[in-house]
């Protein structure tokens, strides 16, 4: 019980929830229009773009993290961003960016399937009724897919909260600084603190179970993914 109340566990849990929420929201905001465009429009080079967006799924998160790290410490643009705009390397924003990089291809793929499940003809009808393309999306497609999008968001959040490889490479494993639950498990294991490992693993397990239950409830009440 004491392990649950320790500063380190509470910090890791809080940081994991905050960063996972931020990266999920960021990936939804950025991937939603991309997924919609890939679902609804045919354009030259579409298959190339789809292939490019799928590539990160085949790369281990740890390799993605290394690539991000190299970009921010070697590339002039990366160095400029890291020094003058937002500090990513070994900082909390780095956790969010690492999670975002891992989540984005998944988000695009799942959201595209969500939009594919809704006939574009509903929007066409809405347009004949006096609504613009954007309004048709906001008033017809978005409400019709809201449960599925929420389901995708929860799955992304669950994936983000368990993210380790990319986070470790870009944000590092610094106690009480960039210490998310997976990083805390790694640090506890390295220190031989098996009680800490068990506690943190239990917390992750409870979170992922809770998310699964919520996702299933949502999918039962609305459109299937």
């Amino acid at each position: 019980m004491l392990a649950f109340l320790s500063d380190e566990v509470r910090f890791a849990t809080f940081l994991s929830i905050v960063t996972a929420t931020c990266s999920t929201i960021a990936s939804l905001i950025i991937c939603l229009p991309i997924a919609y465009a890939l679902s609804r429009y045919n354009f030259r080079g579409k298959s190339v773009i789809e292939g490019f967006l799928d590539t990160p799924m085949a790369v281990p998160p740890i390799a993605l993290g290394i690539m991000l790290l190299i970009f921010f410490v070697r590339n002039p643009l990366g160095i400029f961003i890291n020094e003058k705009v937002i500090k990513f390397v070994f900082e909390v924003p780095g956790i969010i960016l690492a999670q975002f990089t891992v989540l984005s291809p998944l988000a695009i793929k799942m959201l595209k399937e969500v939009f594919n499940s809704i006939s574009p003809r509903y929007e066409m009808i809405a347009r004949t009724l006096g609504y613009t393309e954007l309004e048709s999306f906001l008033y017809i497609t978005l409400p019709a897919t809201k449960n599925s999008i929420l389901g995708v968001a929860l799955l992304l959040w669950a994936r983000a909260i368990g993210e380790f490889g990319a986070t470790m490479m870009l944000a590092g494993a610094m106690r009480l600084k960039t210490e998310t639950i997976p990083i805390a498990i790694y640090l506890s294991l390295a220190a031989g603190d098996l009680v800490g490992v068990a506690t943190l693993s239990l917390i992750l397990l409870l979170i992922s179970c809770g998310v699964q239950v919520i996702v299933r409830k949502l999918l039962q009440s609305g459109f299937a993914l």
């Binding site: 509903y122 009808i125 004949t128 009724l129 006096g130 008033y139």
Partner: protein, 363 residues
């Protein structure tokens, strides 16, 4: 009023070619044609949902050719109605009404009353029957006060058992609405019954083109092409002119010689023709009376044949008679058929008036 001029469009490999027509406010144009002839593509071009390559669409004096769908004020009811899922009937209609211009709440209530959907307002669209969905979709299209209403085969999704009853009722309702709200309507179908009950004007489409356009009387009495005649279920034969003397024309159709009234569209040098005979213009007879002199003087066409098939379509009896190498389809009523005891394999005489034989030059 809607005027479509020289409209050309491409959808995949399908081409819509040189479409021209005009529909006055309050009038209905019924577009007929086989599946894949371009009816839906044409409606989508008018609604702005399909790009056009050339031509123009003018609605109530405004050129809408390059306007987006939301600015055209064209109500569109697709074949599958496309009611917004997981919402009530009321929400579907209200969604359209929010964008209406010049339609009062009283007008909307009148539309709902005319379409007999007052009791369905709180129902989810998933719980509606096909007939109810059809009416709700029309109400939704009318709720935004369109200048033009496009109905794409609105009866095709109906249950076949209920189709006849609903169609009659539906056509009366539609007529009342079109008259009341003075809307130009374009209605597609491949059902001849719907055409005669709803349309002021008919256009027959084939392979992306309008083959013929005119009043129902013009189309049914004077088909201008082989396709139109075949689509209407008429007897169509390729024939060869064997005599043409500016008063009458003798044509050989598969061994049977027909005497037709002279037509200006068939000059003397035209030999290859298409012969069109409506099934209802063929009279079946059993006796030799037809060989009496008074019949001969009238240059009647009396052909001797064998009945091959007798079948009913709704209340009409159809009789297929084999004459030489051709099969003629005749239409009669059950009473007449029973009076003459016409059965398969019995010998009959058929009479076709020369004035009822339509001839077109073969292209």
């Amino acid at each position: 009023m809607i005027i479509v001029s020289n409209l050309n469009a491409k959808r995949g490999t399908f081409l819509l070619k040189d479409i021209n027509f005009k529909v006055q406010s309050g009038s209905t144009l019924v577009i007929m044609g086989p599946n894949g002839c371009g009816k839906t593509t044409l409606l989508e071009c008018i609604a702005g949902l399909q790009k056009i390559n050339s031509g123009s669409i003018v609605i109530d004096g405004i050129d809408v050719t390059h306007l987006p769908p939301e600015k055209r004020r064209v109500g569109y009811v697709p074949t599958d109605y496309m009611l917004f899922p997981n919402t009530s009937v009321q929400k579907n209609i209200w969604f359209a009404f929010k964008r209406s211009k010049g339609l009062s709440l009283n007008d909307l209530q009148r539309i709902i009353r005319l379409l007999q959907i007052e009791d369905l307002m709180d129902k989810k669209v998933e719980h509606l029957s096909s007939g109810q969905k059809q009416r709700v979709a029309i109400a939704r299209a009318l709720a935004m006060r369109p200048h033009v209403l496009l109905l794409d085969e609105p009866c095709s999704a109906l249950d076949p058992l209920m189709r006849e009853v609903l169609k009659r009722e539906f056509s009366n309702i539609l007529k009342e609405i079109f008259h009341e709200f003075n809307i130009s309507t374009i209605y597609t179908t491949h059902d001849l019954l719907e055409v005669t009950t709803i349309g002021n004007k008919i256009a027959l489409m084939n392979n992306g083109r309008i083959e013929q356009i005119g009043s129902p009387k013009e189309i049914f009495e004077n088909p201008q092409s082989k396709f139109v005649a075949e689509f209407l279920g008429y007897n169509v034969f390729n024939g060869r002119v064997i005599y043409n003397n500016n008063t009458s024309i003798l044509i050989d159709i598969g061994g049977a010689v027909l005497n037709a009234q002279y037509r200006e569209n068939i000059p003397e040098d035209v030999k290859d023709v298409v012969v069109i005979i409506r099934p209802q213009d063929i009279t079946l007879l059993l006796t030799n009376d037809v060989f009496k002199p008074e019949w001969r003087e009238r240059h009647c066409n009396i052909l001797n044949g064998i009945v091959r098939r007798v079948y009913m379509e709704k209340s009409i009896v159809k009789v297929e008679v084999e004459v030489n190498n051709i099969t003629l389809r005749a239409e009669t009523n059950l009473e007449y058929l029973e009076k003459l005891s016409i059965k398969p394999r019995c010998e009959v005489f058929i009479h076709i008036s020369p004035s009822k034989i339509k001839i077109l030059p073969r292209r």
